[in-house]
């Protein structure tokens, strides 16, 4: 290591820390934002893959499969679709209809949100792959969770979760009586009637109906019949979910690009400001370098190397913070953060190149300083 560069970085610890933080923030911003977006998308896709129902039947209004909705759908629709009611005929080709009530509550830790689902276990297990692998199905004010929730979260006493542990749901301690697999829908699942009692005073309401066809090849016919019978309701085909996710990825990519560019701008500006201040502070030293015969390239190289050293430290610190942030976010919330090596690399390249870019102007300015003026600088 060039001792002048190394000693300059050591000589001004506060300046170094601030500059380093600027680069680290850029890295954290990039890695965490991308990781969060990709982690949530991946998790959504994985969980949706375990739903074997071909059709999702929603109330009228905005469609948002990843978030909870008000329980705006009458569960009687389910009976109507499957068996027919006094108002409508049953839809031919439907094998099973399972009502799902979703409710988004503040996370137990107070950071972020948790999706809770009320399900009818008898029908839900027919439209998904869900199986209780440990314990039993919940009854009344009881809950089952998936394997990951059980391993990652703590009970209300801060202890690891085992069968019988209690967690806080709707502001009250609720025992965990079973573990299910695979991951599908919300991690926390209550009996449908319990959620209806807690959220809508026992009204027969749900958020969506999962509709499984007798013959998957006839799902379009079934969907067409549903659309014809319930034109105001929103009907989503499970097979379309990947393209819906892709659609959201399209706009997400734009958002991520903005974040990445913002990170680059932050790093560039912080380094530019730090190095600009540095060369003003070291004007006399630059004059001395020139008197020693240092070329313009040597002076530019010295300043750029100093910025690069700070940037390398910033990238390392930023990556460590991002990894710690991943664990903190996942421990405190139900969010998923994928720290991807590719994006750590991209963030590192952005941090390093923006630091060089930020250092270049001050460096060139220093290299072109009048040596006599620089030597007389006080």
């Amino acid at each position: 290591m060039d001792s002048l560069v190394f000693e300059n970085v050591r000589h001004r610890p506060l300046r170094t820390i601030i500059s380093l933080a600027g680069v680290a923030i850029g890295v954290v911003l990039t890695v965490m934002t991308v990781g969060l977006a990709h982690g949530m998308l991946r998790n959504t896709a994985e969980r949706q893959a375990n739903v074997s129902a071909e059709i999702m039947f929603y109330a009228a209004g905005d469609f948002s499969p990843a978030t909870g909705q008000a329980l705006g759908l009458d569960t009687l629709y389910g009976t109507a679709i499957l068996d027919g009611t006094s108002r409508v005929q049953p839809i031919p080709g439907v094998a099973v209809v399972s009502p799902v009530a979703q409710y988004l509550q503040t996370s137990v830790t107070g950071v972020g949100f948790e999706l809770v689902e009320g399900i009818d276990f008898a029908t839900y297990s027919k439209v998904t792959e869900l199986k209780i692998v440990d314990g039993r199905e919940p009854v009344g004010d009881e809950v089952v969770v998936d394997r990951r929730y059980a391993s990652d979260k703590k009970d209300i006493n801060g202890q690891p979760i085992v069968l019988g542990s209690k967690i806080l749901l709707f502001g009250r301690p609720v025992p965990i009586v079973g573990i299910y697999e695979p991951e599908v829908g919300a991690r926390l699942k209550l009996p449908l009637d319990t959620l209806q009692r807690l959220v809508v005073n026992g009204a027969e309401k749900c958020s969506l109906l999962l509709v499984k066809c007798k013959n998957p090849a006839e799902q379009d016919t079934v969907a067409a019949a549903l659309r014809s019978t319930y034109p105001s309701n929103r009907i989503v085909m499970s097979r379309d979910l990947p393209s819906l996710v892709s659609g959201s990825i399209g706009s997400l990519e734009v958002f991520l690009k903005v974040v990445v560019r913002l990170a680059a701008v932050v790093s560039t500006l912080v380094i530019l400001l730090a190095m600009y201040t540095t060369i003003i502070e070291r004007t006399r030293e630059i004059g001395v370098l020139k008197s020693l015969g240092a070329s313009k390239l040597f002076i530019v190289g010295t300043i750029v190397k100093e910025a690069l050293l700070i940037a390398v430290l910033g990238v390392v610190v930023g990556t460590i913070v991002a990894v710690l942030g991943k664990f903190a976010v996942e421990a405190a919330t139900s969010l998923h953060v994928d720290v991807e090596l590719t994006w750590v690399g991209i963030a590192a390249i952005i941090g390093l190149t923006s630091s060089v870019a930020g250092a270049l102007y001050p460096a060139i300015r220093a290299a072109y300083q009048d040596p006599v003026h620089a030597l007389s600088y006080e």
């Binding site: 060039d2 001792s3 002048l4 000693e7 300059n8 050591r10 000589h11 006399r284 030293e285 004059g287 001395v288 370098l289 020139k290 008197s291 020693l292 015969g293 240092a294 070329s295 313009k296 040597f298 040596p371 006599v372 030597l375």
Partner: protein
């Protein structure tokens, strides 16, 4: 207009030898607002190899401008500067920088050491700029030994006295074996005791290694250490003298036997 001092200098030494430093009809005019300030008005000067020259004069007489021109830090309005036979005035900035790196060592009044580096680190930096990579440890050791700084190699400038800092600055100027050392008021920031130590070391360097030194000073006593003194006024050389013998001070005893 060529002044006679250089010719006399050549006759004093070897007339066939090229002066290490030549200035020919050197003129320098600064533009200060709407005024032209003539710092040098056609100054010609030869400095022979192995000579210790002191330049004296009142403030504003053009001493520092002359030194900066000789070091290639400034470009004259007119005239020429030749360092070791190479004309640097008509050269590009890169060329002047190259000549400065290869042939000139600077010593400043305010020492101008890098405060973050040790004494040895300051020398290593000069070596790296010179293009010696990690430098020559043996050469550094010899230079430190010559300047009685062996025990101070690992010290940073703020841990050294003014006299020691200036000796490190001289060591830095010497480490690349320059043809010429340009010293700008090297004792201007030192007390009399340290001044004598530094001046004595410069004189001994000159005598023992034939190192050419051009020194600017306000101090007539300091100038007495040189072989030749030129006096400047208003951008001209107005007088030349040769001191008989440098003063001997008890302050040097034990520091520089």
């Amino acid at each position: 207009m060529r002044q006679t001092i250089g010719l006399e200098t050549r006759s004093r030494h070897d007339s066939k030898m090229t002066p290490i430093l030549q200035t020919i009809d050197l003129r320098m005019t600064y533009h200060v607002g709407k005024m032209d300030v003539h710092a040098l008005r056609g100054l010609s000067l030869d400095v022979d190899r192995g000579e210790f020259l002191a330049i004296m004069g009142p403030s504003g007489c053009g001493k520092s401008t002359l030194l900066h021109l000789c070091g290639g830090l400034l470009t004259p309005t007119e005239g020429k500067v030749l360092v070791d036979g190479e004309e640097i005035t008509a050269s590009s900035d890169a060329r002047r920088t190259d000549v400065r790196r290869r042939k000139i060592g600077f010593v400043f009044q305010k020492f101008n050491l890098f405060p973050t580096l040790t004494a040895e680190g300051n020398l290593k930096l000069a070596e790296r700029i010179f293009g010696k990579g990690s430098g020559d440890p043996e050469r550094r050791r010899k230079v430190f030994e010559l300047l009685k700084l062996e025990a101070k190699m690992r010290h940073k400038p703020l841990e050294l006295s003014g006299g020691e800092q200036q000796r490190v600055a001289i060591a830095r100027a010497l480490v690349n074996e320059p043809a010429l050392i340009l010293a700008d008021e090297p004792t201007g920031n030192l007390d009399s005791e340290n001044s004598e130590v530094v001046l004595s070391m410069l004189r001994d360097l000159n005598k023992q290694t034939k190192q050419t030194i051009v020194m600017i000073t306000h101090n007539p006593e300091a100038a007495q250490y040189a072989d030749r003194i030129i006096h400047m006024r208003d951008g001209h050389v107005v007088k030349e003298e040769r001191p008989s013998a440098p003063p001997v001070s008890p302050a040097l005893e034990g520091v520089h036997p």
